[in-house]
Amino acid sequence: MSYLGLSNKLAANLAEKHHLDEEKQVVLAFAIEVLVLNIANAILTLTIGWALGVFKGTAVCLLTIAAFRHNAGGGHSDSPWRCAAVTMIVFPLLAIAAHQVSTGQDFYLNILSAVSILIGFAFVWVFAPVDNPKAPILSPIRRRKLKIWALSIMGIITMLILSLRFIKWEMAPEIGMCLVLSLLWVSFNLTPWGHRLWFFIDTISIR
């Protein structure tokens, strides 16, 4: 198991103090890694969103994608640093794009909403849950449960998108477009093309 030095050191320290066996130490290192990376990524991404003036939109994109990826899975990078870089770029960009798109005519916003909902349902139905060699889904029952959860979340997001198209609130179009664009990003990540994109990102050398 290869985790960051920080996760390994902290887990080893805690395991020594509390006399934990090796297996529990590995689980602890994994839990610390997930927690640290998710918190750091969220803080950095929201900070960039705030600096670019799209804090709320970035937060909505984060929440939407969080709800999905937890159950639907999708393409992943092999490197936490590349993941952080892409996350910090993509989420605020989605929020900026949503802000721009939301000023368009209602007709086009309705079309875009409908297309994203259709694509979302189709891709979740066909591909989800997408696992990877580092986190394989072994049980068919668990696989089915994750698919049902992903479809349920898709249903909730659909209702939110539709509600936001009808209510009179000045932020409604922008928040709605954040949901729509996040849905498209998540759906893309479920597909083989999404996996190819991550494979390509992983081949970019960082010096």
């Binding site: 689980v27 927690l35 990524n41 990826r69 159950n71 393409g75 992943h76 996350t87 580092k134 986190a135």
Partner: protein
């Protein structure tokens, strides 16, 4: 103080191991740390 820190770190360990056992899939970003064999399901 040391006793308090020891107890707190014990609670943190229980919470972390519990969270990892409940759901080993990554939460929402684009990197998945390798799930330990004992947590795979």
């Amino acid at each position: 103080m040391k006793n308090l820190m020891f107890r707190f770190s014990g609670l943190a360990i229980v919470a972390l191991i519990f969270a990892a056992k409940v759901e080993p899939l990554c939460f929402f970003f684009h990197y998945q740390p390798e799930v330990p064999a004992s947590l795979r399901k």
